[in-house]
């Protein structure tokens, strides 16, 4: 009962949030003074041509009327047609989505592994120079945003030691046998490890730029919550059983310390996904974010709307999943 109510309530607020996003984006971009139709026609087009094309894209109607038509389409899975590419927005956006998802998830994996390892090491070796070092490194990692880490990584591993690729998603001359756009996943399934390596060599630096600040946050939070757990009675009890310190941390303290970290990692993961916009630009990585910036520069209204809505769906979706996981994992909420 309690859980079901929580779920329904969260679904409702998610729907309201998404509607709010749609309204704001729709109205904001229609304040644009420039005429996107005039931009896509060759110079010398007559006023009649402009009017015809404006009517074709429905831009001659009032803004609330446009919103009504667009909203009705969206609910049926029709996000309109891109003005510059003249293709359905949904297909374009879905074609780019896998690249961004693979990058974000790889970055999340790196962040969890590095941050988790740092927190565990810091807890095992607490009150030593190692813990101090981890704290200082974490502070540095947090002080500087992903955009700057990306530039520094480009300098370090693209110029000083050119061992990784600094632009693109895959070497263009390679023959790709893929049927989906999940290149990394598919290369693993097909056991084409040569392609996996090439993809990873392109993805590592952008993923690392996104992962560094998140890893620091995970390390900080998890270490803090481990520290609190280590003082609890049941942990002391486990120690009196003669278990090693490493086992006590891993088997006894960690499972309990994970819960508070989980919620914040969820929120931070949405920030990471938001960061892909500029990181993809920086590394010329052909994902959603890079396409979004092009769409904004070209004033491609339907495409911008589609991308922003998709980002909002991902953001709210991640938050929803984290909340539900929290509700399912937390016994106090489950029985409440």
């Amino acid at each position: 009962m309690g859980l079901l109510r929580t779920i329904l309530l969260r679904l409702l607020t998610t729907a309201i949030t998404l509607f709010g996003v749609a309204v704001i984006v729709f109205f904001v971009i229609r304040v644009v003074p420039g005429n996107p139709i005039a931009m896509m026609l060759p110079p010398g087009a007559t006023d009649e041509d402009i009017a015809r094309l404006t009517a074709l894209y429905g831009l001659d109607k009032s803004i609330p009327a446009q919103f009504w038509i667009w909203g009705a389409g969206v609910l049926q899975g029709d996000f309109g047609t891109s003005i510059t590419a003249r293709q359905p927005v949904l297909a374009m956006v879905l074609a780019r989505l896998p690249a961004t998802l693979e990058l974000s998830v790889l970055a999340l994996l790196i962040a969890v592994l590095v941050g988790g390892a740092a927190a565990l090491t810091g807890t095992r070796l607490r009150q030593t120079k190692v813990e101090g070092g981890i704290d200082i490194a974490g502070g540095m990692a947090l002080s500087v945003p992903d955009f700057l880490w990306g530039l520094l990584l480009i300098l370090a591993f693209g110029v000083l030691m050119p061992i990784f690729h600094i632009s693109g998603r895959v070497t263009p001359s390679l023959d790709l046998p893929f049927v989906t756009n999940f290149y990394l996943v598919e290369s693993l399934i097909r056991l084409r490890l040569d392609l996996t390596l090439d993809l990873l060599s392109h993805m590592l630096l952008p993923a690392l730029s996104l992962a560094i600040p998140l890893a620091a946050i995970i390390a900080q939070l998890l270490k803090q919550s481990l520290k609190e757990t280590m003082h609890l009675d049941y942990v002391t009890l486990a120690r009196t059983h003669g278990y090693s310190e490493a086992r006590v941390i891993w088997r006894e303290a960690l499972p309990n310390a994970l819960l508070p970290t989980l919620t914040l990692v969820g929120v931070q993961f949405t920030f990471l996904i938001g960061g892909t916009v500029i990181i993809e630009r920086l590394f010329s990585y052909e994902g959603l974010g890079n396409m979004a910036i092009d769409a904004v520069i070209n004033r491609d209204l339907p495409l911008i709307q589609g991308i922003v809505i998709l980002f909002a769906v991902i953001f709210t979706g991640v938050n929803l999943v984290v909340d539900l996981m929290y509700a399912a994992l937390n016994p106090r909420l489950r029985h409440g």
């Binding site: 709010g20 904001v28 120079k129 002080s143 955009f147 300098l155 904004v296 980002f311």
Partner: protein, 283 residues
Amino acid sequence: MVEGRAEVKRKAGLRLWLSAGWLGALVLVALLAPLLAPNDPLAQDLFAGRLPPFWVSGADAAYPLGTDSLGRCVLSRIIFGSRLALTVALTAGVITCIIGAGLGLLAGFWRGWVDVVVSRFIDIWMAFPPVLFSILLIAVIGPGVFSIILAIVVIDWTRFARVVRAEAMAQGAMDYVASARVAGRGRMGIMLREVLPNVLPIVLVLLTLEMGIAVIVEAILSFVNLSISTDDPTWGGMISEGRSSIHQAWWVLVFPLVTLFLTVLSFSQLGEGLKDRFDPVLR
């Protein structure tokens, strides 16, 4: 930590002074830019394109940190670029702070419908990717200093509102608020005279951090060519140019990048330092 409390305090103090020192120097550089810059930041010299910095052979002493592909002085452009960076940091930071903290205070202390509306807007704002949102806004209102500031204010007010709302709620539940109310003081008076001073330290910390964020946002917008005219010197614009000629002229990327890095680091270290200072547990 193995270090004693005094040692920790001394290190924190050093961090505070170093970052304040860098930012103070930067303000001076921005104010005295015309006196300090060795060259006109806009002047092009196509015969002196991509000259290396002074210690590399082939350099020209007139351009201490070298030139970009159009033969413009890198040092002078960094110096003049600090003007835009600091203008945006100060103006956008302060306006965002006032609006965000004000709404947060109202929502957290006043509660009721104000809280419902503000919280709902915060939720919607959290569903936008901020970089995309800022690029979108600039594309809508057109490039320019005013647009950059407006974009930062519109996007980042939630950073203040979220924290201040939670803090004001916590303060509102405290005994001193209740006793002020019993003493017959008005809610507005209590909010401004009692609660506001108590949330001010955290607001100051957020403001410092926000200024660092504003510098980054300005650099990102310049990087995607959406801040001000591409001729005018901006750190982000220089970084964008440096990124594309990274294999031919590393100095076009490295010097503005280092400047931006130190500035952002200073703002955030200053914020963190102030946070420790205000934290009663550490003091």
